[in-house]
C-alpha cells in the first residue's frame, strides 16, 4: 500500500531571472512501513523534498499524496493540522524544547497538537519512552541529556501521536558512530513495532548502509526510478 506518492513534483524558489529550480519533476512512491533514505550532495534537493512531503512547504507543480490525502494545496493551517495527525519529525539538532523535561517533550504533541486527556497521554508517553530506553531519564531537562539521549527523546516525540510517517532530516549528523548506529537500530525496531514509515534525508554513509530503500537526488532530479523498492545500491 502506497503511503507517499509524488508525480511530476517541482519546486522553484524565486521568480524570473532569479528563479532556482530545487526539484525538477520528481516521481516516486513509498510503501507503508518502508525505511527509505534520500541521499545526495548538499543542495541537491533532499531537504526541499522532505519539506514538501512534511507539508512544511508547497510544491510549485505536480501532485503529492501523503496518507491518502492530496497535500500540495495545503495552506499553513491545514498543513499544521495534517502534520499533527499523520507526520512525525526528527531533526538533525534534536530540537527539544529546552524548558520541558524529556517526559514533557514527548507529551508536548499530545497536549498542544492533539489535545488528549492527561490519563490517556501519560501511558502513551511512558510506553514510547520505554521503547527508546529513556524512561529512567524522563524527568531530566534537555541540557542534562547527551546527544544520543536527546535524539531518543526526539524519536519518542515524533512517534507519540502514532503517525503513519516519520521524516528525519540528517538524524545522525550530530552523533558519534556508536550512538548513530544505536539510533538507527532503534528506529528500525520502532518501525517493526509500530509499522511506521521512515523517510530520511542524509549523506551519512552509516544511514545509507542501514536503509532498505535508497533514492538518489542530484540537482533536483531523482536518479533512481522512484519505486518504493528502489535499488539499495543506487
Amino acid at each position: 500500500m502506497e503511503l507517499v506518492t509524488a508525480r511530476d513534483l517541482t519546486k522553484t524558489y524565486g521568480t524570473g531571472d532569479t528563479a532556482v529550480a530545487a526539484l525538477r519533476g520528481i516521481n516516486f512512491s513509498i510503501e507503508k512501513g518502508a525505511f527509505v533514505s534520500f541521499i545526495g550532495p548538499s543542495g541537491s534537493g533532499k531537504t526541499t523534498l522532505l519539506n514538501l512531503v512534511g507539508c512544511l512547504d508547497k510544491p510549485s507543480g505536480g501532485r503529492l499524496v501523503v496518507a491518502g490525502t492530496e497535500v500540495s494545496g495545503f495552506g499553513p493551517r491545514d498543513g499544521a493540522r495534517f502534520r499533527g495527525e499523520h507526520i512525525g519529525f526528527i531533526f538533525q539538532s534534536f530540537n527539544l524544547i529546552p524548558v520541558l523535561t524529556a517526559f514533557e517533550n514527548v507529551e508536548y504533541p499530545l497536549v498542544m497538537v492533539q489535545d488528549l486527556t492527561p490519563s490517556s497521554r501519560k501511558g502513551r508517553v511512558r510506553e514510547l519512552l520505554e521503547s527508546v530506553d529513556m524512561l529512567d531519564q524522563q524527568n531530566k531537562f534537555p541540557d542534562k541529556l547527551s546527544g544520543g539521549q536527546k535524539q531518543r527523546v526526539a524519536i519518542a516525540r515524533a512517534l507519540v501521536t502514532h503517525p503513519e510517517l516519520v521524516l528525519a532530516d540528517e538524524p545522525t549528523a550530530n552523533l558519534d558512530h556508536d550512538t548513530a548506529m544505536a539510533i538507527l537500530r532503534l528506529m528500525k525496531k520502532i518501525r517493526d513495532e509500530f509499522q511506521t514509515t521512515f523517510i530520511f534525508s542524509t549523506h551519512d554513509n552509516r544511514i545509507i548502509g542501514e536503509a532498505e530503500f535508497i533514492h538518489r537526488i542530484e540537482d533536483g532530479v531523482l536518479k533512481t526510478n522512484g519505486g518504493s523498492g528502489g535499488p539499495k545500491n543506487a
Partner: protein, 411 residues
Amino acid sequence: MHKLFKIAGRNLLRYKRRTLLTLGLIVTGVLFVSVFVGVSSSFKTMMIGQITDSFLGHMQIHRKGYLAAIETLPLTMNMKPGAVKKVEAVLKETPEIEAYSLRIKFGGLFSNFVETTNIRLNGVDPEEETKTVPLLLSRIKEREKVLRRGEILVPELLARGMKVKVGDMVVVIATNKDGSVNGKQLKVGGILESATGPGGRDGYVHIEDAMDILRMEDMEISEIAVRVKDFSKLHEVFGALEARFSELTQQGKPIFEVHTWERLSPFYNVARMIDMMTFFIKLMLIAVVLISIMNVMIMAVYERVREIGTMAAIGTLPAKILSLFLVEGFLLGALGAVMGSALSVVIIYAINLAKFTYDFGRQTGLILKTSVGFQDLLVVSGIVIVVAIVASLQPALKASRMDPIQALGYV
C-alpha cells in the same frame, strides 16, 4: 491551558535576569501609580471634606438666580416661608439626606465701637448647621465650641484686624430688604479659623439674631445647605433632587436651583487637576509596561525562532503559538501587578505610620492619611494586565505567523 501557563512560566524563568528587570519596572510603575493615587485621592478627599464639612455642605439649594448674584447677598432673593416648606418637604422625603440647614446670608457692618468694617454673616440654627457641616464648630478657636443666641463667631482675620477677642461686645449693623438700617449688639462667642474657599471667611450668628438684625417677621432663607448620608452617592441624590425641584415651577419656570459642592467651590478645579495628573501618571505606567513588555517579548521571539519552528513543524497550530506568547506577557503583567500592589499597600501603611504633616490653606499640621482602595488597585492592575497582553500581541503574532522552514533554518 494549564500546560500553556507551565511552559510560559518556565520560559520566563529561563531568562531570570531579564524577567526580573522587566518585573522590576512594572512593580515600580504600579507602586508609583498606586502610591500617587493613594496620596492624591486622600488629599482630594480631605480637601473636599474640609470644604464641605467646614462651611459649604455637600449641596446647596437657592431660589433660582440667587447663585448668580451671591456676591451681593441679595435679601430680595431669599426664599419665603412657603417656598422653604416646599423644599423641606422634598428633603424630608429623600432618605439619602442626612441633614440640612437653613441659612440667612447677609452683609453688614461690624463695629468694635472704635472701628467699623464690612462683614459677611450667616444666620444659622447651630444644631442643624453642625449636623450639616460638622467641622464648623471645630474651627472655633479659644473657648467652648458652641454658638449661642446673642453671640457672634468672628472670622480670625477680622478679629485680628479689629483687635477683638472672645467676650468683647461688638455691634453688627445691616440694611434689610426694605432699605432700613438696624443694628444689634452681640458678644464675641468665638474666633473662627478661616477655611479655604468662598464662605470660609464668613462670620456666624444665631438665625434668630439674624432675623432681629434684618427685622424679619417671617424667616426668609437665603440658602439651604444639605448633607447626604453617603458622599459617594452624591450625584445620584443630586439628580433625584434636581428632578424633584424641576417639577416645582412658577409660570412655567423652576423656582429653585440645586448645586453640588463642585459648582459652588473653585476647589473643584483643583480636584479635577488632581484627577488629570492621576490620568497622566497612569498613561506613564501604560507606556512603561508597554515598552518593557514589548521589548522583552520581541527578544523572546527572536531568541526562540528555532523553537517556534519546531513547534510549528510538529503540528502546533498558529493560534496555540500565539497563545503561548500572550500568556507569557499576561504572566509578566499579572505578576508585576500583584507584586506592585502588595508593595504599594506596605508603602502606604509605612507612610501612615510615619505621620507626615502638611499645610492646606491656613490649616497647618494636617496629617497625611493615605489610603488606596481595593478598587483602585484593581483598576491599576487591570490596566497593567491589559497593556501587557496588548504589548505581547505583536511579537506573539509574529511568532505564530513564522514560516516553519525559515524558523528551523534560523541560526
